[in-house]
């Protein structure tokens, strides 16, 4: 594990984990923390695609939402245990991801974004009209159930640690993937696709696998969110959520591990905080953050932090060298 992280990154990771474990005991409302963790997971899944592979999916909410409905319906109406419901949700999202990916992978850049958006809209209409989704009302009253049929998740505290455990596991999994040879190929595709092709990589297969992996994790986030809150609604599949997850990732820092998490907590926290105070202005504020991010803050919080660190650590040896010169 030591090679995965730079030392400061590892320290920050342990500190963050300690904070997450302590969170419900230091007055952070567990349901809020769980919701934010679910969106953080979603943003990490999205970042795997845009940050490390260079594919902008503008329809990621569809996969999160479809899994939210899938898990919700299976747990509520078919009596699935939560872990089976989650697995089923992941499979639903991955299967949809495979179909959408196969079509979208054929085009690049901006076209890829628009195709994923349009395909996601198709999934939205299916969710709106399918007989089991409850239409405009959504799927209500999903129980959290008993984990493995044994541990009741009804208590917020138990549920919180269940969500946290899944989150940490998937977070480490993503780090592992990015640092694997497979992840290196993904980065090569992001940097220079023609070169990756000329090196003999079957680029489309790599991209498709990244897409399916990302949609599967998005599905896990969706299923978890349904279990936490007990419902799935159309706003889970709506394209505005696809926009929000882009913002979370961009604001936190594209292509950094912690970025999406920081971004998700910032946006969800902001929405929670602003919802009662400013009404519809939330949309405007989110829009302004978007514009500012794109114009002046493209590296995001974490990206900016890393860049500053690098700069100062690069400056120090130079300074030392300059001093030596001066003394000589």
């Amino acid at each position: 594990m030591s090679s995965w992280f730079s030392t400061p990154g590892r320290k920050a990771g342990w500190a963050a984990l300690a904070l997450f474990i302590a969170a419900p005991f230091i007055g952070i409302y567990p349901v809020f923390a769980m919701k934010a963790l679910c969106y953080a997971l979603f943003a990490c899944a999205f970042n795997l695609l845009l940050g490390y592979t260079g594919l902008l999916s503008f329809g990621h909410a569809a996969f999160m939402g479809a899994a939210a409905y899938g898990t919700g319906w299976l747990v509520r109406s078919a009596g699935f245990t939560p872990e089976l419901g989650l697995i089923a949700g992941v499979l639903v999202a991955a299967a949809l991801g495979l179909v959408v990916g196969l079509i979208a992978i054929r085009r690049q850049g901006i076209y890829f974004a628009m195709i994923t958006l349009a395909m996601a809209q198709m999934i939205f209409f299916i969710c709106l009209q399918a007989p089991f989704t409850g239409g405009e009302d959504g799927l209500q009253g999903v129980p959290r159930g008993k984990l493995f049929g044994l541990i009741s998740l009804e208590s917020d505290l138990t549920m919180y640690f269940f969500v946290l455990a899944i989150f940490v596991a998937v977070f480490l999994f993503i780090i592992r993937v990015v640092h694997s040879p497979y992840g290196q190929v993904l980065k090569a595709i992001r940097e220079n696709e023609p070169r990756a092709i000329s090196l003999g990589y079957n680029v489309n297969r790599y991209k498709l696998l990244a897409f399916v992996l990302s949609t599967a994790i998005a599905g896990l986030a969706g299923g978890l969110k349904t279990l936490v809150l007990g419902f799935a609604t159309l706003s889970d599949v709506h394209w505005s959520l696809s926009g929000e997850v882009i913002l979370m990732t961009l604001l936190g820092g594209l292509g950094t591990f912690a970025g999406p998490v920081v971004g998700a907590f910032t946006i969800i926290g902001l929405q929670n905080f602003l919802a009662d105070r400013v009404g519809s202005w939330v949309t405007v504020i989110i829009g302004v953050i978007f514009v500012v991010c794109v114009l002046a803050f493209r590296r995001g919080f974490v990206g900016e932090f890393i860049a500053r660190r690098k700069k100062s650590s690069a400056a120090e040896p130079a300074k030392a060298a300059a001093q030596v010169e001066a003394h000589a």
Partner: protein, 295 residues
């Protein structure tokens, strides 16, 4: 003949007509997107919002100043075009050297801002706008009754679309525009002010969206969300047509409107997804779209 495929001909033709009207809006909006994308390389996500603002300008000028429909048809594109100028000068011009994805994201943010402001101002319930006096009533064509206003929408949008097409394909200004999309540096060297051209192209595209908005005002409910509901279908139209092709976006827009109308007759549940299904099929056969060139 009173029935066609077991459906009363009146209803059948009525849906076809509605489809053609929708297709007119698709055509006008995807045309504006194509023009902007062609020269600026920016996918204008705010296009739907500009369309919405066009409709609100028409509604607002009637409610507040009693300015009629025909004047609004002139004022709205000017107002929205001016807004386009401001957007281009203050925001978009910083992005031309970056990945086009940033243009998409920035205009997405803009769309959120516009929608949010209008929702705060006017709520989500719709406003209605009366059909102008000259175009009230309907004409009986024998096989169907055609509302005059809808006929006007189709005619007007065809005029706008073909006018834009002629401007770009047949005039020397259009030639410069097209040259500017190919090689801005070279065109600049010939003494043509490319940044100015870019600026007015964005304004022109915005004005096109506003005209569509005014034309739509009497046939739909004007709401802050009317643009975002439409824009994704228009994106699909653009992908099917092949982005950047002017004629492609006009034809695809009209035809897809018709197909959507037909679907409403035979299988209403599928009408909201038929465009996306067609998109998927077209992409499997021709990844660059029907009229697009493979890059």
């Amino acid at each position: 003949m009173t029935e066609i495929f077991g459906i009363p001909i009146q209803a059948f033709m009525g849906q076809l007509m509605l489809g053609l009207v929708n297709g007119s809006f698709y055509a006008m909006l995807s045309l504006g997107l194509a023009v902007i994308f062609g020269l600026l390389g920016i996918v204008n996500f705010a296009h739907g919002a500009l369309y919405m603002i066009g409709a609100y300008v028409a509604w607002f000028s009637l409610e507040t100043f009693g300015i009629n429909y025909w004047a609004a048809l002139l004022i709205a594109p000017i107002v929205v075009g001016a807004l386009g100028l401001v957007i281009e000068r203050s925001l978009l011009k910083h992005l031309y050297k970056l990945d086009p994805i940033y243009g998409l994201l920035l205009t997405f943010g803009l769309a959120l801002i516009f929608e949010g402001v209008f929702r705060e101002q006017y709520g989500v319930s719709g406003q209605s706008y009366a059909v102008p006096e000259l175009l009230q009533g309907a004409t009986n064509l024998g096989f169907m009754v055609l509302p005059n206003y809808r006929a006007w929408v189709i005619v007007a949008s065809l005029i706008v679309c073909l006018g834009t097409w002629a401007l770009i394909e047949k005039t020397s200004l259009g030639a410069k525009l097209r040259a500017g999309t190919e090689n801005p540096a070279l065109v600049q060297a010939f003494g043509i002010n490319v940044p100015l051209m870019v600026m007015f192209t964005y304004a022109g595209g915005a004005a096109l969206a506003a005209i569509a908005g005014v034309l739509a005002a009497p046939v739909i409910q004007i709401t802050p969300l009317m643009g975002s509901n439409l824009i994704i279908v228009v994106f699909a139209v653009v992908v099917i047509g092949g982005m950047g092709s002017i004629l492609g976006s006009i034809l695809t827009g009209l035809v897809l409107g018709l197909i959507e109308g037909l679907t409403k007759v035979f299988y209403p549940e599928a009408s909201s997804i038929v465009v996306f299904v067609i998109m998927a099929i077209v992409l499997m056969i021709r990844p660059a779209g029907l009229f697009g060139k493979e890059k």
